[in-house]
């Protein structure tokens, strides 16, 4: 590994410079929201519904309780609109009349003493007339209760590809081999190790920065900014949203922080003091967003030789009680539903329904892991039916340069999937092991092994015309001594944004790494670069970081020859401010029709092949992951070590989703809202990872880089399932794959064999 950095002018992109926030993080000095001292602050807490659906008749404060020094606020205290402004305005900041899910916030309480605070929360009761709740996709589709619109459907999309006047059913029926399957996935909790939290205070008119100030754990400062403007009826310059060091997000801190921020700010406004609203783990698991459960039905037609022809997908997702980001999650889900394969004809139909459960939201992969699970299971089912080796069937049909996707996008560059398959299969010895594990095991063997593969892709950047609408911006300012300050709204939540932006800016400006500083995002100090989501930070925002840095450096160098720092100081003495503001322009050739869902769904895709090897205990059905090989084409690894960290961390989240994690529901309540009983993988559960970063550059990304954030989440679960199926000689169409699920699968396979 090359360690670079300091004052060297050597190129840093592609090297493993020391992560710039590393020293603060290993010495305990990095200040996360709960570490910030706020003298005189009150503690805030939330009164939540314990009913899934009902009519709120009243909020009752226990008259026997001593309410001195305690602030209580309800929906009536919200000065602006009682909505969490995001896509639709259906979600209130505090429930006013209707209760739509358990854990819905109804009132807020603040107190200087955290112990009295909890007693005060307990002294508030909600008078709710219960209504029958809708608790699953099937409940919502039955339409016995209507809780959203006229049919409980929050959003619907259809992609149709080369139907030529026929129906997809007709096209499938004309094929040699027809196969139908149904696959389902469950909720997943993000489980960042730092729970959500915000600290708010208000500054009076006439002060240097009047308005509301909120600092906390978040991914998208301008999402919070937008929500706060609506909630408090404020102009943008009166809302100041800053990021504290953030202890992981994975999508979980994309939209929910708007609620925490507005709650803290509302309490602070009424109480007239700063308020700390820091969630405990149980509250965080119960109230905040999760990955959308989904049910995917796939019918395919192919030739006898395994050439894929026609694809029909019907995908239903559970959006939860409010729309939040569900339309976007559904969109990404259906755009990835056809997998990494060539189809001549396709119809992909997706819809999301409302249920009386907490809104599901952003989680790494954002709809794609759900649909990729389904298509990858289906490819394995198809391989069985055809008597083919499953990875060989994938290789036969995988997309390549010149192929056309189901949205009609012709792939013209940066498709490294064949190399990914070669690297992963070779290193894991996949084909030899796969054949070997198919042989009969000794009678009464306690354990059996399996090896499985998944092939997949993930679009980088916003879907369709998203980036064109978003117009993300970055500003670079010249400072004394020839230093460039990068101002962007892209947050570092552990993935290394600050380090990588410094690398990109330093190389583009031909300056030493140490001549670049990155401003900590605060909406008052940085332009809106768009949210830190969608695998877009390096590819989209990074590309304009480089452009802006180069523009500023070119201006300095244009003033004459000689030492950069001296030229910079001379220019600053003359002009006071020297800066560049650059707006992202998607490649012109990228065109997408948001109405018909035809065209270039993403500027480019990252590609991958994952291989998992497992051993299953045939008595306890415990699965041990023996090894994991991930080969992922991300265009260019700006910082290879951090990229490998993204691949391995994302993959382990996918392994956790498959083998350990399970939200247990009862009547809309979560029965396991603790780390003790919602189990994420430990160091003992995690396999050794062998990671290959494959680099097929994308012309629109900085040094060819594509997104890496979400891709690793997509393939882990199906690769694990393929391996587990081989080990237990039974089928797993639904997540999770807990021991009891494997036991049931094996029993079903035995009963099937007998009958």
């Amino acid at each position: 590994m090359t360690t670079n950095g300091t004052g060297s002018r050597e190129k840093t992109v592609g090297t493993n410079v020391s992560r710039v926030d590393g020293r603060a993080k290993v010495t305990g000095k990095a200040a996360y929201v709960d570490d910030l001292a706020t003298p005189g602050a009150l503690f805030g807490a939330t009164v939540r519904s314990d009913v899934a659906r009902g009519t709120l008749r009243g909020i009752v404060k226990d008259p026997a309780f001593d309410w001195t020094g305690i602030t209580v606020v309800t929906a009536a205290d919200i000065p602006g609109d009682n909505v969490v402004a995001l896509i639709e305005d259906d979600q209130p900041l505090l429930a006013k009349d209707a209760i739509r899910h358990v854990y819905e916030p109804v009132a807020l309480v603040a107190c200087a003493d955290p112990v009295r605070l909890q007693k005060a929360v307990a002294a508030i009761s909600l008078d709710v007339e219960k209504l029958p709740p809708v608790l699953s996709i099937e409940d919502a589709e039955a339409k016995t209760q209507i809780i959203h619109g006229t049919d409980n459907v929050q959003k619907r999309y259809v992609i149709e590809h080369e139907l030529g006047g026929k129906t997809i059913d007709e096209l499938i029926a004309a094929c040699d081999v027809v196969l139908t399957g149904r696959y389902a996935v469950h909720h997943q909790e993000q489980m960042y190790i730092e729970p959500q939290g915000m600290i708010a205070h208000w500054e009076e008119e006439g002060g240097p920065t009047p308005g509301v100030h909120v600092t906390g754990s978040l991914q998208c400062p301008f999402y919070v900014h937008k929500a706060m403007k609506r909630a408090f009826g404020l102009e943008g310059d009166k809302v100041h949203i800053g990021q504290a060091v953030t202890g992981g997000g994975f999508g979980g801190k994309e939209e929910y922080p708007s609620i925490v921020a507005a709650h803290a700010a509302l309490l602070s406004k009424v109480a007239g003091k700063p308020v700390r609203m820091i969630y405990g783990r149980k509250e965080d698991i119960e109230a905040t967003t999760k990955r959308h459960p989904a049910r995917v039905e796939i019918t395919t037609g192919c030739t006898k030789t395994g050439e894929l022809v026609a694809l029909k997908i019907e995908c239903a997702m559970d959006g939860g009680a409010y729309v939040t980001l569900t339309p976007v999650v559904l969109s990404r889900g259906i755009l990835h539903a056809a997998g990494a394969y060539k189809w001549k004809h396709a119809r992909v139909h997706g819809w999301a329904v409302a249920t009386n459960t907490p809104p599901n939201g952003a989680f790494r992969g954002f709809g794609a892991p759900q649909t990729i699970w389904a298509i990858e299971r289906h490819m394995d089912r198809l391989a069985e039916k055809l008597g083919r080796e499953p990875l060989a069937l994938r290789q036969q049909n995988v997309l390549g340069i010149g192929s056309v996707t189901v949205t009609g996008q012709t792939l013209t560059e940066s498709v490294g999937v064949v190399e990914c398959i070669e690297k992963a299969t070779k290193a894991s010895d996949y084909f030899v092991k796969r054949a070997h594990y198919n042989e009969p095991s000794p009678p009464h063997a306690r354990t059996r092994r399996g090896i499985g593969a998944a092939v997949f892709m993930h679009g980088a950047g916003f879907t369709g015309s998203g980036e064109r609408r978003l117009k993300g911006k970055v500003q670079v300012d010249l400072e004394q001594g020839g230093v460039l300050r990068v101002r962007s709204a892209s947050t570092d939540i552990g993935q290394g944004t600050e380090t990588i932006f410094r690398q990109i800016a330093a190389d583009a400006a031909e300056l030493p790494f140490d001549s670049i500083v990155v401003e900590t995002p605060n909406t008052s100090n940085v332009p809106d670069s768009g949210p830190t989501v969608a695998s877009r930070t390096v590819m989209v925002v990074g590309s304009i970081v480089g452009k802006a840095a180069k523009q500023v450096a070119d201006r300095v160098r244009g003033t004459g020859a000689g030492d950069f720092a001296k030229l910079a100081d001379a220019l600053l003495a003359k002009e006071k401010t020297v800066s560049a503001l650059v707006e992202y322009e998607p490649p012109l050739k990228i065109q997408f029709n948001d109405e018909t869902y035809r065209g270039d769904a993403y500027p480019c895709y990252a590609w991958a092949c994952d291989i998992a090897e497992v051993e299953v205990d045939l008595d306890t059905f415990e699965t041990k992951v023996l090894g994991f090989w991930a080969a992922q084409d991300i265009g260019k690894a700006i910082h290879p070590l951090m990229c490998a960290g993204q691949v391995e961390g994302g993959t382990l989240q996918a392994i956790g989703w498959a083998l350990y994690e399970n939200v247990v529901w009862k009547d809309g309540h979560i029965m396991n809202p603790r780390m003790t009983n919602y189990v994420i993988p430990t160091s003992k559960d995690a396999p050794p990872f062998t990671t290959f970063l494959v680099e097929h550059p994308f012309s629109g990304g900085p040094s060819g880089a594509k997104g890496v954030g979400e891709l690793p989440m997509d393939g882990g679960a199906p690769a694990i399932a393929a391996a587990v199926e081989q080990a237990i000689r039974a089928k797993c169409n639904d997540l999770p794959l807990l021991p009891e699920d494997l036991f049931r699968a094996v029993r079903a396979a035995r009963e099937g064999a007998r009958s």
Binding site: T27, A31, I193, I493, E648
Partner: protein, 158 residues
């Protein structure tokens, strides 16, 4: 008054004996490097060394600490000089979001103090009580191996 040593210095607290050591460290003593991830001993983000043994400070009553020796993440470095473990976590990808890092470092410190030639399995055992959601653990294991190698090369303590 409960008296104990924290990072080599004598400290005292008038907190109730059943107060969590975690809260005493974070609030009156201002040592916010020790984190709370779950408050029930599952995540290990609040790990500190108590007489050299890693414990979850959210499960330790401060009354149990009378006369004892506590080391937090703030007490690992020698002044400005990082320990081999701290350096390795910065250089080898052991830290991403950083919220588990203080606890990981404390658990790894206890391991390297007793074993400077750990196997990967030894390392995975030693940090089994410390959850990380970012890294997949591979780079943490690699960081601890790199630190162990540095300790062996120097013949110094972790």
């Amino acid at each position: 008054m409960i008296r104990f040593k924290v990072n080599g210095a004598a400290r005292e607290t008038d907190a109730p004996p059943l107060a969590r050591l975690l809260d005493v460290l974070r609030v009156p003593l201002g040592l916010t490097g020790t984190k709370e991830g779950c408050g029930e001993g599952e995540c290990g983000a609040c790990s500190v060394l108590l007489d050299g043994v890693p414990v979850n400070s959210c499960l330790v009553a401060v009354g149990q600490c009378e006369g004892r020796d506590i080391v937090t993440v703030e007490g690992l470095a020698h002044g400005e000089e990082l320990t081999p473990l701290q350096r390795a976590f910065v250089e080898d990808g052991g830290a991403q979001c950083g919220i588990c890092t203080p606890g990981m470092l404390v658990a790894a410190e206890a391991l390297l103090r007793r074993n400077t030639r750990p196997t990967d399995d030894d390392i995975r055992d030693a940090i089994a009580g410390n959850l990380c959601r970012c890294t997949g653990y591979q780079r943490i294991v690699d960081s601890i191996q790199a630190a162990a190698a540095a300790v062996r090369a120097k013949g110094s303590r972790a």
